[in-house]
């Protein structure tokens, strides 16, 4: 790693002597435009969420909020549905995290033992489902038959194992020296002990990679819930967001005939707030990810690299 950094630094220095100033300027400008394109939509939503409800409803503020209005955030915090959905997502994320890590270790470790009988078959057994799947409907029927339909288990149990993560873990474990295991055997340890006390502590980097993939993946997933859960009380956050942001199920047509002027004004304001709450909701539910991903990105990048290794 150090050597690579050194090389990069070397090339870096060469580059500055190498390229022309004009080319540098063009490169920097083009990449600045690309950055603007990736960052601006999110920034725009932030501006809308902080502006006055009137301005947010017409979407006509672009760079600076016209004041600081936090009414929609206040409404959001008082909304019990969103907290329940948040709680559900936390349950799903934490249970998947534990289950996937344990299953990855239990499955990947034996595959690294040299001379394990039938190892080839086990690997093929793992690889087939990566290329062929039953598809949406057989899966749905299976979940129904197992009695998991419309329960939290419908998301937790099928997602407990990720074959792709098992293969990542195996790739990493194979890179560890055999002597690590041999020395423990000489001391009389069995495989369970080796896995628990010798391997688990040294695989922290890959555990970080798998954990982050799992957290982000489960946090953002909604499709299985849409198929397997109709009860809104057990649905994760993304399903709640889908109802509000995509299906627009929040009632915004509250102006009725026979209202006094004051009532209409109040209803219109309510209406605008209901519009704005969508933007606040986007910010409110994305912040945890936005603040953390820059710190975790090196792990992500490592995962992409490990995953791309040719078997």
């Amino acid at each position: 790693m150090n050597g690579q950094m050194g090389n990069a630094a070397l090339r870096h220095r060469n580059r500055i002597r190498n390229g022309s100033r004009v080319a540098d300027a063009i490169i920097c400008c083009v990449s600045a435009v690309l950055c603007f394109i990736t960052l601006y939509p999110m920034y725009y939503i932030l501006v809308l969420s902080l502006s006055s409800p009137q301005a947010a409803a017409t979407m006509k503020v672009y760079f600076v909020p016209d004041g600081l209005y936090l009414d929609s955030y206040a409404m959001l915090v008082k909304n019990s549905q969103i907290w329940r959905a948040y709680g559900n997502t936390l349950i799903y994320v934490s249970s998947e995290l534990v289950l996937r890590l344990v299953s990855c270790l239990l499955m990947a470790y034996p595959l690294t033992v040299k001379g394990l009988r039938g190892r080839k078959f086990v690997v093929i057994y793992l690889l087939i489902p990566m290329y062929f799947g039953g598809g949406m409907i057989p899966n749905y029927l299976l979940i129904t038959k197992l009695g998991m339909y419309n329960t939290m288990w419908a998301l937790i149990i099928p997602g407990a194992i990720s074959i792709w993560h098992i293969i990542l873990m195996r790739t990493y474990l194979t890179s560890l020296p055999d002597s690590l295991r041999e020395s423990a055997f000489i001391d009389g340890a069995n495989h369970f002990q080796v896995l628990a006390y010798i391997y688990t502590p040294v695989v922290k980097p890959i555990i970080a990679v798998i954990s982050i993939y799992t957290i982000v993946g489960v946090w953002n997933s909604w499709f299985s819930s849409m198929i397997y859960q109709t009860n809104t009380k057990i649905q994760p956050l993304q399903m709640y967001l889908r109802r509000v942001l995509v299906d627009m199920e929040v009632d915004i047509s509250s102006v009725k005939s026979g209202m006094t002027m004051d009532e209409i004004a109040a209803a219109v304001k309510q209406n605008q707030l209901a519009h704005q709450i969508r933007y606040s909701m986007i910010i409110f539910t994305t912040l945890p990810v936005l603040f953390t991903y820059p710190f975790f990105q090196k792990h992500f990048v490592k995962g992409v690299m490990l995953g791309s290794l040719k078997e």
Partner: protein
């Protein structure tokens, strides 16, 4: 029995015990995979039956109503088939046309940025959309393309009349492709950037002494050396041609734009699951899977032929 044989036997017994332990370790996972990956595979059988909910996938009591390829014929001859095939291929090809080269170009661009901190910032910023959930991205896009939205504000500068783009069938392919590319180009560039960073800097040094400029270095060193990475990604993308991102489409589309937005994946969901035509839906899913797999194999074969490089 002599000593040697006894020793051999006890060693074999020890290995057997050891392997039993290892298989015991794997057992929960193996069973889970059997239930949740192989049983659904076996469930594909219902594509060849007239399955009714509640029946078992396969019974020998004569209850199973085998119909052979009836559902396949029905699908291929249905009025939706042409539209679905057209939409799926159009959306995927658009995605391939832009989503494939943009990450490569972006990686090459980022690699040329002379300031280290700025380079890092650009890269980090480009990952951002990857971490925003599809639901939120779809929600944002839907509000941008609405009548009061950002897209109309920008277009009004060019004198285009404001309209609700989300119900315009013609606009859907553009909206879908832009969203997809926006969400994934930075992430897609990671692989290229890391293979670029493993190129030996001496190569650049040598060509510079020979008088190569930056552009020539990029064309004659960087690009040829990341060719393999490009080939892998191309094979994978070709394999996904019938697997248009139906999760995103399900969120973005509405009945007004089915004409250009409905693809195999969304059709399986609506026809198979929502309307309960389980056998028919499974057949549609199986059909797309087989074609996809054939395409991956074909692309891989071609890549092996042309560049001596492939996934297998």
């Amino acid at each position: 029995m002599d000593r040697k044989e006894i020793l051999k036997k006890s060693k074999r017994r020890r290995i057997l015990r050891e392997h039993a332990q290892l298989y015991g370790m794997m057992a929960p996972v193996l069973i889970h995979i059997f239930i949740f990956s192989y049983v659904p595979l076996y469930g594909i059988l219902i594509a060849f039956q007239d399955y009714f909910p509640g029946a078992s996938f396969l019974s020998f009591s004569g209850n199973t109503h085998w119909v052979g390829l009836k559902h396949l014929y029905k699908f291929v001859n249905s009025i939706y088939f042409g539209r679905l095939l057209g939409n799926t291929i159009r959306l995927s090809l658009l995605n391939l046309a832009f989503g494939f080269w943009i990450p490569i170009a972006f990686a090459l661009l980022v690699n040329e940025i002379p300031y280290r901190k700025y380079k890092k910032f650009v890269q980090t910023a480009s990952y951002l959309p990857h971490f925003i959930s599809t639901v939120i991205v779809a929600g944002m896009v839907l509000s941008f393309v609405s009548k009061d939205g950002l897209v109309n504000s920008v277009l009004s500068v060019f004198g285009v009349k404001a309209q609700a783009w989300n119900v315009k069938a013609k606009a859907f392919p553009t909206i879908y492709t832009t969203t997809n590319v926006w969400k994934s180009f930075g992430w897609g560039a990671i692989l290229y950037l890391s293979s670029i960073s493993s190129i030996d800097p001496n190569l650049y040094e040598a060509t510079r002494i020979d008088g190569a400029n930056r552009w020539q270095q990029m064309i004659h060193i960087t690009v040829p050396l990341i060719k393999n990475t490009i080939a892998i990604n191309l094979i994978m993308s070709i394999g996904g041609i019938l697997g248009a991102n139906s999760e995103l489409i399900l969120l973005l589309y509405n009945a007004n734009v089915y004409k250009t937005a409905d693809v195999f994946g969304t059709y399986v969901y609506r026809e198979g699951l929502l309307s309960g035509s389980f056998s028919f839906g499974t057949m549609v899913g199986l059909f797309t899977q087989i074609i996809n797999f054939t395409l991956v194999f074909g692309a891989n074969w071609l890549s092996n032929k042309l560049t001596d490089f492939g996934l297998w």
